[in-house]
């Protein structure tokens, strides 16, 4: 949308027509419904059903203006198929590239799974309110993730890792269905080995290779030694998980507004308009997807 247009003009330009005078943020925000092309730079299998897809905006201005917070998401566009909201799984410290962890779940993600490095996708965003990393700074962080919930918190984990000295003790509790569903395991194990993080992996259904813990994430949580005065909790996982994890965090005396929950809803437009992601009086897409537990308690129908 350009201001010099006659009033009442709707205009969406193809990229080749994008005026050279437009800044990256004008391009991203002027018409936030409009995706910008990004090229897939790499794709690799994380599990049988999940791929890590790395992308890079073609336009340099967009690439520089697209700066996200851990916990934010974007709308991934495959024209003809549609759009899907996807958490950004890379840290903002990784510049110039955006990584997404894509589970083959719906039509857009299935179509993406059949694409290859070099192909072009559309991206708009970043959207939403992520984790308040500035508040976390100087404190301990307890991160609890289940299944695909690891995707948004990996952005936070990588961010913390890249600024490791800014944070206190960081504990990751990550539950998966089976050992082969565990994502980023090598990376996490390496960091555990280097004593960067405490790491507790659990699975619901072990196999012959598994010598780790079996059961729900709340079990290792219960054993943790936590200083509630300086600990922030982070939760992301399937809808059923929140209540139980929050309960343990509360038992550990972590304060209501020190527990951060990353919610999943159908974020269609990403900018607080379309209504699909409403929870009570809030829009998951702009007021969240990260809410602290105090806020969540104040939202009808959040948990």
């Amino acid at each position: 949308m350009q201001s010099n247009m006659p009033r009442g003009t709707i205009e969406v330009d193809a990229l080749r027509e994008a005026p050279q005078t437009m800044s990256g943020s004008e391009m991203l925000l002027g018409n936030a419904y409009r995706p910008w092309p990004a090229r897939i730079t790499s794709m690799r299998d994380l599990t049988a059903n999940e791929k890590l897809v790395e992308m890079r905006f073609i336009d340099e201005r967009v690439r520089e203006a697209f700066v996200h917070e851990p916990g934010q998401f974007l709308e991934l566009s495959l024209f003809g198929v549609g759009e899907a909201p996807i958490s950004i799984t890379s840290s903002p410290t990784k510049q110039g590239f955006v990584e997404l962890c894509i589970r083959r779940a719906g039509t857009v993600t299935s179509a993406l799974h059949s694409m290859h490095a070099g192909d072009i996708v559309g991206i708009r965003g970043p959207f939403g309110r992520g984790f308040p990393v500035d508040k976390f700074r100087g404190n301990d962080v307890l991160i609890v993730a289940g299944g695909l919930g690891i995707a948004p918190v990996r952005s936070l984990i990588n961010y913390i890792h890249d600024n490791r000295s800014d944070f206190g003790k960081v504990t990751i509790v990550y539950g998966s269905r089976t050992p082969s569903d565990i994502m980023f395991r090598d990376q996490f194990e390496m960091w555990r080995h280097r004593k960067d993080f405490e790491l507790y992996l659990t699975v619901d259904h072990p196999d012959d290779t598994w010598d780790g813990e079996v059961g729900v994430v709340t079990e290792p949580m219960k054993r943790l030694d936590i200083n509630p005065a300086n600990t922030y909790g982070v939760v992301c996982g399937p809808p059923v998980m929140y209540k139980f994890v929050v309960q343990v965090m509360r038992e550990k005396n972590i304060d209501y507004d020190h527990i951060y929950l990353d919610f999943e809803r159908h974020m269609k437009c990403g900018m607080g308009k379309c209504g699909h992601c409403q929870i009570g009086h809030q829009y998951c897409c702009i007021d969240g997807p990260v809410f602290n537990y105090w806020e969540a308690k104040n939202i009808q129908g959040s948990m």
């Binding site: 495959l78 003809g80 198929v81 549609g82 759009e83 899907a84 719906g106 039509t107 857009v108 299935s110 179509a111 059949s114 694409m115």
Partner: protein, 264 residues
């Protein structure tokens, strides 16, 4: 999931399509031909291997997408759709007969006696072994549907494209009245006239109402239809509830949801 992976995956094969006709008037297959201006474009996107309406050849053994018109009314048809399901990556049911059993479904209650009314004695052998008419989805899993009697040619084109290229668009399950409000057509109930829009699945854009006729329910009962509340609405607006139930039979005779609520 669509068959679109066929054209996006490495082998990039043009999907092989067959069109199968069961018990119906074949009007929905005719409707496909009414997408005339676009037929060549559509045929360019698929490998049409068999179209029952226009060929006397046999159906090939291998294909990717099967489009089925008509209700399952015989054991033979039942076997046909099962065989289709085994071979097809995607099965699309088109038209009221295939999606709701349609008008043929009206024969379901007391089928045996009805045969006697039509034929003297048993049905001729060429009719096959008659069973209570049912939609294709009552026999096999159906991946997508094009609703209404008959189908709209462009609805078909759009549905086929969703199969070929994939789409995250969810099928509407809401009922019709919202469309009349968008179209700003007058509600028949204001005038105590029966209309099945209260419980019929949206998607047609309330075409009949736009032409001045009440909805006769050809898109079938919405899976989220609230038949009990609709009966209450009929009573409130002076429409005979029994007439409402009777009218629903034309396209929903064999809908199990209706049978349940009708037994109450």
């Amino acid at each position: 999931m669509g068959a679109f992976s066929l054209i996006t995956d490495a082998e990039r094969r043009v999907p092989r399509v067959v069109v199968v006709g069961l018990a119906s008037c074949f009007g929905c297959q005719i409707q496909i031909t009414n997408a005339e201006p676009y037929l060549m474009q559509i045929l360019g996107q698929i490998d049409l291997q068999y179209w029952q309406l226009v060929t006397s050849e046999d159906m090939p053994d291998e294909f990717d997408v099967a489009i089925i018109e008509g209700a399952v009314t015989t054991r033979e048809a039942e076997q046909t759709v099962r065989a289709v399901r085994e071979r097809a990556a995607h099965v699309m049911a088109i038209g009221a007969c295939a999606t709701t059993a349609g008008v043929t479904g009206m024969a379901a209650p007391g089928l045996g006696g009805r045969v006697g009314e039509v034929y003297e004695g048993a049905a001729p052998e060429s009719s096959g072994e008659l069973i209570e008419p049912r939609p294709v989805s009552a026999v096999i899993e159906v991946d997508s549907e094009v609703l209404c009697c008959p189908i709209d040619p462009m609805d078909f084109v759009a549905a086929l494209q969703r199969v070929l290229f994939g789409s995250n668009r969810l099928p509407d399950t809401r009922t019709l009245c919202s469309d009349c409000k968008r179209n700003e057509t007058e509600c028949f109930y204001n005038d105590a006239t029966l209309c099945l829009g209260l419980v019929t699945r949206a998607g047609c854009g309330a075409r009949c109402v736009n032409l001045g006729r009440p909805c006769n329910g050809c898109a079938g009962l919405s899976p989220d239809a609230n038949v009990e509340a609709a009966r209450m609405a009929c009573a409130t607006y002076g429409v005979d509830v029994a007439a409402f139930d009777k009218a629903l039979e034309m396209f929903n005779q064999v809908n199990p949801a209706l049978a349940e609520s009708g037994d109450e």
